[in-house]
């Protein structure tokens, strides 16, 4: 069975945000430290997956409020059972 990584979760979150706010979602992601956006399907998080994901969610939340946090949680909910626990930040649980 496929195991999802923090990068997979980040891609899913950004895509979901893009459906709501458009390309701005990628601009926001590019400003998250610890994460490199190479293309629309290629995002790398070399270390501290959980921390980087939390800061991505907080970036959106800071700009668009708690509703955007819920969108992030909804986006990855079905993936969580297949992600290492150490890669899941508290904010997404």
């Amino acid at each position: 069975m496929k195991i999802f990584t923090a990068s997979d979760l980040a891609v899913k979150i950004i895509h979901e945000q893009e459906a709501i706010i458009g390309p701005l979602a990628w601009n926001v992601a590019r400003h998250v430290s610890g994460m490199t956006v190479k293309s629309k399907d290629h995002v790398t998080i070399p270390t501290s997956g959980s921390v980087v994901l939390a800061s991505l969610v907080k970036k959106y939340e800071g700009l668009f409020g708690p509703a955007s946090r819920e969108v992030c949680r909804d986006a990855v909910r079905s993936m969580l059972p297949k992600v290492l626990a150490s890669d899941i930040p508290e904010i997404l649980k």
């Binding site: 069975m1 979901e16 459906a19 709501i20 706010i21 700009l63 668009f64 409020g65 509703a67 955007s68 969108v71 909804d74 909910r77 079905s78 969580l80 059972p81 297949k82």
Partner: protein
């Protein structure tokens, strides 16, 4: 202009717009999925195929551990699994649809039967409550392989009647359904019931078509038996009738002694009755040959004039008896046509006999002409005529024209036989009339094989 401290900030507007956009995004995603689903449902006609496509699409979209559909059987006693799609572990499925047994609708412990009975959504955390026929170990292994945590059972209803269930396995708690999932299920169930109704109608149509095919085959067999019966019966009748006709002829010719006037009158009636019976039997035999595709024609070059000359001469006496003039116009040249001698005699005998039968006064005219590469024979009378309705049905079996009440001897088969015989000899026949009591005209066309240009001569 100053902005008051309680006015809405840009940030608030931004957040409000985000919420609206998020709702629209969910709706958009749901509509997109439903669009795909409705496409699947529109394409598939049979229940099994349609259900399979829905189950497969749904499981792929949300990566569910399993999605399955069961429908109530015809006797309304069991829920039968129509489709089951599950996640695979290294390409191997631990549970296959063949393993799933039908669920009794009265089953107390089964969550699917319960959902159907109560017509409400149910949640189960126990695989054994959903499926039957799966042993505990297999169920456990399946749950581990697919990380199954819970399952949602939705009833499918057509009007007020529950027709089946949709079972969806989740790798999390059922309360964690996203808005997209909730909206999808809400709309999908409605779509599925419409699609099931369509599939049911299609199934009914298929069954009816099958029944009609069987009935049609049966009717064809019966028709064959009837034709066979007609053929046998007609042959059995013709021999004694020929004997009868012969003896009547002998009596009429006074070979067996002189006859009194009253006896002659009775004998004439007997002769007419016998002739009518022979005609009927002959027509029935023709019909049985036509309908059993046994009508064979032996075409050979024949001079049509010779045939018509003989027939006109033969019927002159009958015309004289009725006080009807029988006029005949024919070219002097030979009119060579590929015909079956016996069949062509039968055709013109029928047409001329009819013309005389339906004409009480005036004349019957037979005109033969060459028209391009055809020979055209026209039998025109000044008799009772035909209505438009008569003409439309004239060449059908057992159909008699409106003028048939004026004659005693009619079978309703003569013109049907004429048409079939003419067509078998590559000709055509048509009827015309200006209306009731305005006479009628029958035209027969045959392709010529040899013609000489000659003036027409009255004979």
């Amino acid at each position: 202009m100053a902005i008051s401290s309680d006015s809405i900030s840009t940030n608030d507007v931004n957040r409000e717009l985000y919420i609206r956009n998020a709702e629209l995004a969910v709706r958009n995603k749901t509509l997109l999925l439903l669009h795909v689903m409705s496409g699947v449902m529109a394409r598939a006609l049979e229940t099994k195929e349609m259900v399979h496509d829905i189950v497969h699409t749904l499981r792929q979209e949300f990566s569910y551990p399993f999605v399955a559909v069961a429908l109530v059987d015809e006797k309304k006693k069991y829920l039968e699994w129509k489709s089951f799609s599950s996640a695979e572990k290294k390409g191997i499925k631990s549970v296959r649809i063949e393993q799933l047994e039908p669920i009794s609708l009265l089953g107390r412990n089964n969550i699917c039967a319960k959902s159907l009975r109560t017509n409400r959504r149910h949640v189960s955390r126990n695989f054994a409550n959903i499926f039957e026929g799966i042993d505990v170990e297999t169920g456990k292994q399946f749950s581990i392989d697919t990380q199954l945590k819970s399952a949602l059972i939705f009833p499918l209803t057509l009007g007020k009647e529950s027709v089946g269930i949709l079972a969806v396995g989740l790798d999390r708690s059922a309360i964690t359904l996203s808005k997209h999932e909730r909206e999808t299920f809400q709309s999908l169930l409605g779509l599925m019931t419409i699609a099931l109704q369509k599939a049911e109608t299609f199934q009914h149509l298929q069954n009816t078509a099958k029944q009609l095919r069987v009935a049609n085959h049966h009717l064809q067999e019966l028709d064959g038996v009837k034709t066979e019966f007609l053929s046998i019966a007609s042959h059995q009748l013709r021999t004694p009738l020929s004997v009868l006709k012969g003896y009547i002829g002998m009596l009429n010719s006074t070979m067996l002694g002189p006859l009194a006037v009253k006896q002659k009158d009775v004998l004439m009636r007997m002769d007419s009755g016998t002739e009518q019976l022979i005609m009927l039997v002959n027509h029935l035999l023709d019909v049985s040959r036509i309908e059993s595709n046994r009508l064979s024609v032996r075409l050979e070059p024949i001079d049509l004039r010779g045939v018509l000359d003989g027939l006109v001469k033969f019927l002159e006496g009958k015309a004289k008896e009725k006080n009807v003039a029988l006029l005949y116009t024919v070219p002097t040249m030979a009119l060579m046509v590929n015909l079956d001698l016996e069949k062509v005699k039968e055709v013109f005998m029928n047409l001329l006999d009819n013309a005389l039968k339906y004409t009480d006064e005036g004349n019957v005219t037979v005109t033969v002409r060459v028209e391009e590469s055809n020979v055209r024979v026209e039998v025109r009378d000044t008799g009772h005529g035909l209505t438009h309705e008569d003409i439309a049905n004239l060449f059908q079996k057992f159909v008699t024209g409106s003028a048939s009440k004026n004659v005693r001897t009619t079978t309703g088969l003569g013109l049907y036989v004429v048409k079939k015989l003419v067509e078998a000899m590559h000709g055509t026949v048509a009827a015309e009339s200006e209306g009731k009591e305005k006479g009628s005209r029958f035209t027969v066309l045959f392709p010529l094989i040899l013609s000489e240009k000659c003036d027409e001569n009255n004979q």
